[in-house]
Point group: D2
Chain length 296, copies 4
């Protein structure tokens, strides 16, 4: 018998064990929704995760499943609610799911729904968007995270995998140096990042699609126009512009890995270094993140 | 000592070993090229693989490295030639690389260069494309494969990860059935695929960019408009249209995995099945491929 | 000019923005360390992430880099400290790194170091472990997370990607049912999971390697011997046995995705269902997690 | 209407299109097989791909599905045949599948079955292997490729993702140099590779498991003991030992990417370079492959 497992059989544990936190649910629920208005279809592709927290301790400690709604049911429910209510903005769909699971699971006190949307665009035929043929709009996706409790509902929107690059107006100079610093000051470098941003709304009800599109546009334009002295500097101004432009947003959290593009040294080959040829790298990468809010 | 390795020490091998084929080179050489015309920059991102074939047997059998140009040198060379000649069409850059390595490696008789281009688009600011800020144009990439020998040069162009979907005009009926067939005929299904297509040009010199853009457009439009009776059927018509439209193309090879979208069964929940909610799946997937050419 | 970015130029923002949290550092620093004791070598492969928190607001809001130790320096430092001090247990190496960065960055008040170790085993030759030839010991890795502040040091150890499966003694019955529940009670199923566990030590100094190996053994043995009534149930007993066996551990956090193996329905083919052939799936998957501690 | 697609409507194509090659089937069919001998279970996990070639042109050019066995049926069949015949050696299972599909599809003239086996080992409890609890045996997998025609059957066995490393007895010197060569000769380096090897058997019937285990052992021992002057050199000797030891093998094909471990330069920090700290890298990587056979 197991040396360790036999501990469970001991009649007198010297010390009791406590569940400090727990949650369970279903992840990677994938859904494709097609709406047909005659020849003009809409397609929406989502990946959903539902997690419930609450009075589930006995399912862990006593193998009491009586309060455990199966994660398979959660999956079924996502499909049924999509059919009943449509998708709409993913923030809205997240709220519908959260409310449903609180209703159908007495033990749950908090439901977290995370939704990623994989965007599709229309294929153009003869210069016109086709009604029912679609092309992936890329690896970037829109995200929502809705946390519903019996007393409140928190809605976060976001985007992930926003892969952007600027080839001008990016420097990094005047940094702290110690005995292991070999990096040189640079007044002109490439800045590339795969941005993830999430922002929390003040209200749970608003024009999600409109605001989301505005924030995305704001992030892209600020990134493009910013005269950057560091990734931190650019991240901050992106957050600042977003908060100043969208009063609906209470807080924004931005993660900007620095996907370094290393200049190739051509002097080894008797050629000049002209800051034109780089090696893009995935690892190691810088990691910069911050959460910005409003001063009271 | 190793039971097996000691075989090498045997003075009298009962049977001799022959090298039937061999090649070597460098893969995943990543390159970012920035061209600056004042405030308007161009960025190009490539991933290159160079493989050489030829009289390299002695490097294997006799550890004779005297004819082995290091793969590290191949990597350096990709950067140097990009600087010297620019990139241009990736087919052209592949030809430059192939010719160079044949020249610099006497033992090489054949050089295969494969290039993937990761496309970037411009970020729009105030509705206008920015000069030096870019957004990834998605997971789709353009490909080239150039095979250069001392006598000839073969140029293939292509695209990969072209993720497309059509929600109408796709059926699959009248197929062969045996005792393990459970699939039902369907007159209306989603067809989704991540297409890979490569085509070989008749001539090595042509307007690569123009033709490539035309072929991509042709593939997308044919996919969109086709009334599909199977993936095979659509694949064929895509190939046929391409060959009929572009006389420069001698052959086209298309791979279309069938990324099944499975309809959710709502009758289990007392609801109707309306062909509106699907589960997109990655595995298992259908796999359909064909190579099409011209009848002599 | 950007509609949004111009907001930054406004002289009188109506509302000020505040940095609520921030951190920065370097991720995916990869390191291979070889120790040579004559013909017997040791190899260790690590991937390190270093993140600093502290008085870095001005680098965001004022582009003041004077307190910013470059992430490139962090990378260099990981290599230098590995050379100076060796690796030892990764928990120990994490502490050395944490202390170093607090010393070399006045602005930092907290340093989080995460280390993953990719294990290597020895190739056996003639039944004996070779001195300098190694085989990957699999996708599972050992992890450490060390958080160092000017006042304290918290050490967490862990493992990730522990892919395990049991083909007996796993049931799931008596669960809550609602109108969308289609799952059947099952008294005999496959349970498969890719476990991630992390545990926090009471003390920062202890025999890390010995305890880690004991915890891993305990997790595996408990998983194997447990008569499971749910993933929750097994997770709990794994945590309980660990806490009861290892007094050095204050808390343990376990994540067990349920990688469903779906029985194939053979009745469709006139054959019996014998619970012998399954479809392993990656998505959707159950997600079960809990954090366990000691009752005071 | 599409500019391109309308080409299909032309009544008089100037040139006809021909299908030069085609095949179709199902990929990523995943299967877990459990055999229960009392308390001692065996688990086998496979991923299967089935591709058929033959007289399928009309399914492409005329949308005639009457000879097309659905790929969904292929998937079902893999499960049914696993149940009827068990798995046994994957080479054997591949032959059963190949023969079945030739029988059930009149149009097929050639069936290619590729099988990957993901290995599981037993969890040890109290030092003894458990009967029904398993631990993934790593990312390495065993492979088989069986090509069945109406006249013949070719069986290839193999392994993939064999991640190995040697920290001694590896040099690379005396190589060809040109104006872009910066690599230095090295008499002592790390050699790391993720090997893929496939070998073709002379006979279709043999003790697959025994031979496979012998070949794997031979590859590992030869890799370990070899005094390597290049990746090519080691690859060759691995192939040579295999062919000399296993007369059942007609040919072996080996791919050895060179996963470079780059020495860190410590002289920049006033420290000595002792060949002890390396940066393991995934890209770019060397790529070396060869196919070896027997001299007639």
């Amino acid at each position: 018998m197991s040396l360790y497992f036999s501990a469970l059989m001991d009649t007198q544990p010297t010390e009791a064990v406590e569940i400090l936190a727990n949650r369970y649910g279903k992840a990677r629920i994938r859904l494709m929704h097609v709406t047909r208005n005659g020849a003009r279809h809409e397609v929406r592709e989502l990946t959903v995760r539902v997690l419930c927290e609450g009075e589930f301790e006995s399912s862990y400690s006593d193998a009491d499943n009586s309060q455990v709604l199966p994660t398979d049911t959660m999956k079924n429910t996502v499909y049924v609610l999509a059919k009943k209510h449509g998708i709409g903005a993913i923030e809205r769909f997240g709220r519908i799911l959260g409310e449903h699971f609180l209703t159908n699971s007495q033990a749950a006190s908090k439901v977290e729904v995370e939704i990623e949307e994989q965007p599709w665009s229309r294929i153009e035929v003869g210069g016109k968007p086709h009604g029912s043929a679609f092309l992936s709009a890329g690896a970037e996706h829109r995200t929502a995270r809705v946390v519903t409790t019996r007393a409140s509902c928190t809605v976060e929107a976001g985007l992930a995998n926003l892969l952007v690059l600027k080839s001008s107006a990016s420097s990094f100079e005047g940094f702290l140096q110690d005995e292991y610093t070999t990096l040189k000051n640079t007044s002109d470098r490439i800045m590339a990042t795969s941005m993830k941003a999430t922002w929390r709304y003040d209200a749970s009800e608003l024009a999600y699609d409109v605001v989301w599109a505005g924030v995305r546009r704001s992030i892209l334009e600020t990134f493009a126009e910013h005269v950057s002295k560091s990734v931190q500097h650019t991240l901050y101004d992106i957050g600042k512009v977003t908060l100043e432009t969208f009063p609906q947003i209470a807080e924004i959290h931005i993660v900007m890995p620095n996907k370094h593009c290393l200049p190739v040294d051509f002097q080894r080959f008797g050629m000049s270094n002209d800051n034109d040829i780089f090696v893009p790298t995935d690892e190691p990468h810088g990691y910069i993140e911050a959460r910005l809010g409003r001063t009271n």
